[in-house]
């Protein structure tokens, strides 16, 4: 029932003739029948009439509409492939729950710190891609060697991301290879890093001296477009580590020696440490958890730090703590500029 305080709905299934409508139509008809003396005044829509008139559904498949639909599709395509400053690529072992948690946290931090980016996930194993992955990131698959393990698998993943970046390089200025348990944590990190690189360095990459490593570590690798073509990884002997032991692992061969001078290293910068190796902040711009897959803690320098931390470490417990309150967790570890770390 229509009442004064509850007016009729505007949209009705059937047209309804109204007294006022009939009067208006009669008036218009008489106006049209009169001889033209002056240019007809534009008809002002009567609000009450407009409210009373039913909305007419236009036929969908007119030529005009089809044109519009085509234009919309093109616009969507253009949006996906429009030039972006930064392409970010991450390797995930699979689309499991832990991978989803890391992807979620990584994307939250990237969105809170980065203006213009596109995100790609290289999923190494598993036949199905979860809806969380497909809804939030562009998923790509590795090029062959799906059964590779450990360092070899990491190299396959890096090479897969690299191939993707090369293919789409025209759309971007910079490329970030980043482990699934790593992400930028500082507002404006991109501008800070690009300014630091200037014309002297072509990439920025983590260096984990705290793990006695001399090799550049691709957990965080920020590359300029010109250097993309040079990047090359392998699992090789790098040399000796800081305590004189043989060091053999994923090696960014292109930059370990030959282009080393063009590589800007990102060193650990935690203001506060909960572990000398895990939960690291690098250059006050990136966080890297370490052992993010939940694997057993067995890093190279474990015995070196044996006198200050236990040989066993509850990796999953530390991941839970991070996930529970990342703002507080990372804010405390990074520490130097609390207001510069975003709340996610």
């Amino acid at each position: 029932m229509a009442r004064r305080d509850r007016p009729l709905k505007v949209v009705r299934s059937k047209p309804q003739t109204h007294k006022e409508v009939l009067e208006e139509l009669r008036k218009r008809q008489s106006d049209r029948n009169k001889p033209a003396q002056s240019p007809p005044k534009p008809i002002q829509p009567n609000p009450s009439l407009k409210a009373a008139m039913p909305k007419v559904r236009r036929p969908v498949k007119t030529e005009k509409v089809l044109k519009q639909v085509k234009a919309n599709i093109q616009e969507q395509k253009d949006t996906v492939h429009s030039p972006k400053k930064l392409c970010i690529g991450t390797i995930f072992p699979d689309c499991g729950k832990l991978g989803e948690q890391w992807l979620d946290l990584q994307l939250r931090y990237i969105k809170a710190t980065t203006k213009n980016f596109h995100h790609v996930s290289l999923v190494q194993n598993g036949s199905k891609i979860s809806s969380f992955f497909s809804n939030n990131t562009e998923v790509i698959r590795p090029l062959g060697q799906r059964n590779a393990k450990n360092s070899q698998a990491h190299t396959v993943g890096l090479n897969g991301l690299h191939a993707h970046f090369i293919k789409h390089q025209a759309n971007y200025d910079h490329f970030l290879f980043i482990d699934m348990d790593a992400f930028p944590i500082r507002k404006n990190w991109y501008d800070i890093l690009v300014k630091k690189l200037g014309n002297n360095w072509e990439l920025a990459i983590a260096l984990r001296c705290e793990n006695l490593e001399t090799r550049l570590h691709s957990s965080i690798l920020f590359a300029t477009k010109p250097c993309l073509q040079h990047l090359k990884w392998g699992v090789h002997k790098v040399g000796v580590d800081l305590i004189g032991k043989s060091e053999s692992d994923v090696n960014l061969m292109s930059h370990q020696t030959k282009r080393r001078k063009q590589s800007y290293v990102l060193l650990r910068s935690n203001q506060y440490q909960i572990h000398p190796l895990l939960c690291g902040v690098y250059y006050d711009l990136f966080y890297h958890h370490g052992c993010g897959s939940g694997r057993q803690f067995n890093m190279r320098s474990r015995p070196y730090w044996g006198h200050i931390v236990p040989q066993k470490f509850d990796v999953m417990g530390s991941i839970d703590k991070l996930m529970e309150d990342p703002n507080e967790f990372i804010g405390k570890l990074a520490g130097w500029h609390r207001s510069e770390y975003p709340q996610v």
Binding site: C209, Q262, V265, I308
Partner: protein, 262 residues
């Protein structure tokens, strides 16, 4: 050789207030953390050696030169002295004036770790982008002491790819580099990326301990996060006022020795 005895040597630029305060601090911590008998020798680069300390044997270094040159001369003088009395000691420790051990029973822990694998332990400061071993702390036995020498010159490239040209330890920087156990920064809490450092949870090194202007290789590198006004003197005041509280704040991994005030 007297079993277990340690000889500690340290270099001081002059007999100023800062030098005296650091010497007192160093001796306090050595006494509180060293479980073996030790003697202390100070190389004084300038000033009257007789008025400097009655707890440390004081040797006057020849004058002239500054910075790295003076440091090298001091280290060589210390080594010469160590070699003259080598038969009386088993262990040797070179320390910058603003460096000292902070962990109880440090000598035993460190010597056990070296245990035939490494000849000496010394500081490595990647946080200052350095690839050279840093002579602010060197711990060794006689076998390594005999080989020790120092040189000022090109070491190679620092971590940013620039030339590194400074005082370094021979022959351990090159031929014998795999015989060195580097002591890395281990602060649980940092007040500065370069100053007030704890190494391997065992030694404290203040840096710029003379109160000189802060000017280190990596200042620019850390420019986006370091406090713009870096106050070495303020940190010196803080540690001198209450070293136990200050050092406890920086370490924190394990329980550290409470060092009685004088």
């Amino acid at each position: 050789m007297k079993s277990g005895k340690l000889l500690v040597g340290s270099i001081f630029p002059d007999t100023s207030k800062w030098s005296r305060l650091w010497l007192r601090m160093q001796l306090r911590y050595l006494k509180a953390t060293t479980r073996t008998e030790f003697d202390h020798i100070s190389v004084l680069q300038d000033g009257d050696p007789d008025s400097f300390s009655n707890e440390s044997e004081v040797v006057l270094s020849s004058r002239g030169g500054g910075g790295s040159v003076a440091h090298m001369r001091g280290l060589k003088l210390l080594k010469d002295h160590f070699m003259r009395v080598k038969d009386e000691y088993e262990f040797f420790l070179f320390l910058d004036m603003d460096a000292f051990p902070i962990k109880n029973n440090w000598l035993s822990l460190l010597d056990d770790r070296l245990a035939g694998q490494w000849d000496l332990a010394t500081i490595l400061r990647p946080e200052n982008l350095e690839c050279r071993f840093h002579s602010s702390v060197i711990f060794c036995r006689l076998k390594a002491l005999e080989k020790l020498d120092w040189k000022i010159g090109e070491v190679g490239h620092d971590l940013k790819g620039g030339k590194e040209n400074d005082l370094h330890i021979l022959p351990y920087q090159e031929e014998l580099s795999t015989r060195v156990l580097p002591l890395l920064k281990s602060n649980k809490h940092l007040v500065h990326p370069l100053l007030c450092s704890v190494y391997w949870d065992m030694f404290y090194h203040h840096s710029c301990g003379s109160g000189r202007k802060f000017r280190m290789r990596s200042s620019q590198y850390w420019g986006h996060m370091m406090p713009k006004e870096t106050p070495p003197a303020a940190f010196i005041d803080e540690i001198m006022a209450d070293s136990n509280t200050f050092i406890k704040k920086l370490t924190g991994w394990t329980e550290h020795t409470h060092v009685p005030e004088e």
